[in-house]
Subunit: 518 residues, 2 copies
Amino acid sequence: MTAMKDWDCRSWCLARAQALKPALKHWSVRPRAIVQPERCPDAWQHCRMRDVAPAETLRDRAFGKGESFIVDLGESVVGRIRLRLRPLGWNDSPCRLRITAAEMPHEAAANLETDFHGCLSRAWMQDETVNVDVLPGDCALPRRYSLRYLKVEVLCVAEKVAFEDIEVIAEAAERDLPPAPQELPEEWRLIHQTALRTLRNCMQDVMEDGPKRDRRLWLGDLRLQARANAVSFRRFDLIERSLLLLAAASDDDGRVPGCVFTEPHLRHGNDTVDYALLFAPTLEDLVSQTGDRDLAQRLYPLAARQHELFRSQLNDDGLVRHDAQGWIFIDWADFDRQTALQGLAVYSLRSLARLARLCGLHEQALRHQDEAERLAAALRRLRYAPERHLVLSGPRREVSWAGQIWPILGGVFTPDESRDILLAVARQPDAQRPVTPYMQHHLLEAYRHAGLHRQAADLLSAYWGAMVRHGADTFWEVFVPGDDFLSPYQDALLNSACHAWSCTPAAVMDDLWRQLNA
Amino acid sequence: MTAMKDWDCRSWCLARAQALKPALKHWSVRPRAIVQPERCPDAWQHCRMRDVAPAETLRDRAFGKGESFIVDLGESVVGRIRLRLRPLGWNDSPCRLRITAAEMPHEAAANLETDFHGCLSRAWMQDETVNVDVLPGDCALPRRYSLRYLKVEVLCVAEKVAFEDIEVIAEAAERDLPPAPQELPEEWRLIHQTALRTLRNCMQDVMEDGPKRDRRLWLGDLRLQARANAVSFRRFDLIERSLLLLAAASDDDGRVPGCVFTEPHLRHGNDTVDYALLFAPTLEDLVSQTGDRDLAQRLYPLAARQHELFRSQLNDDGLVRHDAQGWIFIDWADFDRQTALQGLAVYSLRSLARLARLCGLHEQALRHQDEAERLAAALRRLRYAPERHLVLSGPRREVSWAGQIWPILGGVFTPDESRDILLAVARQPDAQRPVTPYMQHHLLEAYRHAGLHRQAADLLSAYWGAMVRHGADTFWEVFVPGDDFLSPYQDALLNSACHAWSCTPAAVMDDLWRQLNA
């Protein structure tokens, strides 16, 4: 019989996570207006919603076979749908409905039977075809949806049907959005609230990545959610629960998964090399906010374990090997990940060192610090081209934005060097730019690290602000300005329009505004 | 302010009906086998089910996107469906299923999206398209189905899914079928049990006509159900409740509806001239079985009221007018209804006279008796052709089977005359034959009235027996041998395969067997 590993606190984590299960709040949301999608080239995804009538007029409208309508809830929420049907005219048969919940106008306008060509499960789309036997009567769908728009198609009915009431019983761990700081300008306040609504809608039983798709708890997303949460809802219980669930789902080697599934029972999801290394920083952030040293002490060995496992990815020079194993996410793009991962490892080691110190483990703290310096030095020595102010990644010495950003965030460079690097990479048209909001966040942080507050502010407006200008009231999973139908899943219908990793402006904009105006 | 009419006992009827609301029984039914539809010209509707494997093997079979299966429950039941899904392989997405409950092989084999062309609501078909978010997990559909077969199509799934368990929670006011009389031959015993299963599946909150379609309480069906019930389940409470609901839904003129809807609240359905006249016989049957004179006394005025209302349909000769108003059902066929309705009215008046006598209302009893004789005499004098042994109906003197049967059942003719009439009509190839099981029942009764026991037995075997030989375990709404796709709704998919008005063999076959062997 082998002794239990020091990092193995899985059963404690699971029990504590279960004790922290939140009671969800529920509230009623009713449609604001009947709307109609309009195809127009200047709208995002060439589709926008036009108001047709106030929602109150719906109850007096009669729908026959083949007729349909779309309502706008006025706000994106997560919840369950209930329709109250009233028959009009002859009424001797059940009514058959197709009900589609949609986050985006394009999604509400689509014919999912013919338009969908995504490579993920069609079941991520939020439509059902059901029969309602008794009219007047209610149709309550059991599924949880993420939606701003609701489309109802009457596939058949005895004669006509009216929709007396439409209600979404919204659900989340929190309901009301903390207000945006007063001093922010109007555009920023909108961005702030959009970020918090994104976060709020993802605050379910756990911190989900996207309440439409894929409803999973990802460590990379969690770290960013935790940052926005700390300056808004301050639901540290939910952050802790989520982190504990990731810890509880570690494999027998102590590898923290990139994500977990939590229903019907906890299950290890994808292994993700970079996310595992973000376990230490996420833990450190939480402990610094709550002061919970006991949690730090319990989870520190698991955080350290991620680096023991990671070490085999380094070559003798202390550099991430070209043939590093496993899925290294960083961003959704095809670029060499060596220096991005190297920078991220340094970032993580520094955090791990601080955690060790907090736990009174000074020897370990020094060891982690030394390792951080060794990796930082290797990166500077072997991959930094000071004359070009660029970090070059991999055997082909590629230049990517992520390859600059993560070393900067890892403290490999001084703020001045960082500024030069960020200005230099901007002059490299071939350098792979950040694609996801997740990577855009890290660019925003790198700008701030480098003292480039104006660039950070411009990015905020050009990226998150652009989504708001396109009508977003939650931030999207995928947004590359000008590329309306980009999707990692071969169909933008599958993209999540409310995605945790986009919620970070709320975490930084108050500080950034002060820095800008200092 | 007008005094309450003597027939108006609606609020008493409603209260008493509510008090008699049955507690439904629930039981679990699991599939017997995985089956596959086979098109073959000699099967009913050119489709029969072939066993593929025992149902137990299902849980080990993996289904991917686009794959499907059909199971046979082994018995037709009414209930709700629950599937237990187990993921196989990669499992990161919801699963989308189309679930179709079917009574008939042809229905299970159909593609409802392309094959359906009925003129009633498509929503009568028993299929839904739903998404199951969490695997492993259950999919419980809220709708109640009438089914023998269950088809599950996997529209998409992350990788594969197995169906760990499939359960139908059957529901009805009774569960177990009373056994067939021992002395009956095997074929008759099968017919008997099929009749009782038909009745059992219709015994819900009220006596429904068909648990798939149209789930309504019809007076004409109720009268036949009550007869089968009296020799089997003896759930007189449910018969009484159903009759009371029909009474409670009378209109302000005292017209008992042909049918009522009971959900979400009691509602007057179609007016049906002949069914309203069957109120008295149905009440008389019930009272004679239960001895409940109080019920007879309360409902007698309403039964009598139907004849007051009917009187305007008679001409000065006491014959049903050619231009009689309202929907006169009798049977689903286009034929002159004058003499059928005349015979039915006599049948009803004789019953009403007996009810009056039971209530101690001897003067009224004599009046009803006199009216019955007047109508019977008018029919004999003006519509009977004794030399041809035929009753001739309407201005064109049409000959139909229904036009002979109902006067016979009304006691207009002696048994000997009746026999001659039934033998004579059989020699009239153009005479409209009975179409529905409802009318076939009345033919069976007419044969018995005429002492034609052999013909009754032959009809039993040729009609209900044929359904059994075609694989029925409940009797159908529509059955005309040789006309497999006949439907009053332009699509046999809409036909109900378990329909109350087909359940009558159980009521007569024990007596008939004794008479045959006397």
